[in-house]
């Protein structure tokens, strides 16, 4: 194995984790915000 390949693997892993993790966090934030807004609207319609 060539010298310092571990740093290259770490760099590409960090990149994938940062971009993938942020994407997943945005998808989760969007889902949660929509669910909360729908729930508030639904409660108001019912009262």
């Amino acid at each position: 194995m060539a010298a310092n390949v571990g740093y290259v693997i770490a760099a590409y892993l960090v990149t994938a984790l940062a971009l993938g993790g942020y994407t997943l966090s945005l998808l989760s934030r969007a889902r949660n915000a929509k669910r909360r807004a729908d729930a508030i609207a639904q409660r108001r319609r019912e009262t």
Partner: protein, 242 residues
């Protein structure tokens, strides 16, 4: 021009546009990884570790682009007072912070084997750390007040003033003696880089730019939904106050 930008934004942020950009960014990142890790040759001096450049440089360029968008959207907000521009600036600032932190982390992973240290107070590194702090500050300013119009105005001022650091970061390797290498591609004269390496680098910049566009559409949707949530939560209070 602002109207054209608004129309383009509307098209890109539709759910179909979002999905298309998501697939395009995945494909572009896969091609970029192939070019960087398989097609491009190892560096004659640094060997394999130089391959970190193909993610480090695009991350740094995308940080510049993100903060340029914050700058433009902040000016547009102050001129038009349209919430949409504030939403664009907030989204781009958050993504810019991600890319700046990523560029710093990748630089550290490259610096350790090449310079023998994870971090040094070199002009490029220091000004980049300041850039990260400025835009973390920008995001903090957005949390100071709940008044949407005051929040947008304060943030726009920070977004415009903070952008001053971007050209300082870029030119720091020219203005001051630096351990960091100087410009090799975006410089006067021909690029000082081998053809296949240049292709892999430009492929990385293109893939990261498409990913930025995808993240922007997602983050803008989050912004719209969070605003709707706040409106729904506040509407009974607003009705009572009326």
């Amino acid at each position: 021009m602002a109207a054209t930008a608004e129309r383009a934004l509307g098209k890109a942020t539709s759910r179909n546009g979002e999905r298309t950009l998501g697939v395009a960014s995945l494909v572009a990142l896969a091609i970029s990884a192939l070019l960087s890790l398989v097609v491009a040759p190892p560096d004659a001096v640094q060997g394999e570790v130089q391959r970190i450049m193909y993610v480090h440089v695009p991350a740094a360029w995308l940080a510049y682009l993100s903060f340029f968008v914050v700058f433009g959207a902040s000016i547009a907000y102050l001129r038009t007072k349209k919430t949409r521009w504030d939403r664009v600036a907030a989204a781009s600032a958050e993504i810019g912070v991600l890319f700046t932190a990523l560029a710093i982390a990748l630089g550290m992973l490259w610096g350790k084997p090449v310079w023998g240290t994870w971090w040094t107070w070199d002009p490029r590194l220091t000004t980049t750390a300041v850039l990260l702090l400025i835009y973390i500050g920008y995001l903090a300013v957005r949390r100071i007040t709940d008044n949407p119009s005051r929040r947008a105005t304060w943030a726009a001022v920070v977004g415009i003033v903070g952008f001053i650091d971007v050209p300082i970061v870029h030119l720091s390797v020219v203005w001051w003696r630096s351990l960091h290498q100087g410009p090799t591609v975006f410089r006067l004269g021909a690029p000082e880089i081998q053809g296949t390496m240049l292709l892999a680098l430009l492929g990385g910049v293109a893939a990261f730019t498409i990913t930025y566009a995808y993240l922007m559409t997602l983050r803008l949707r989050v912004g719209r939904l969070e605003e709707r949530e706040a409106r729904e939560a506040l509407s009974p209070i607003v009705e009572v106050e009326r």
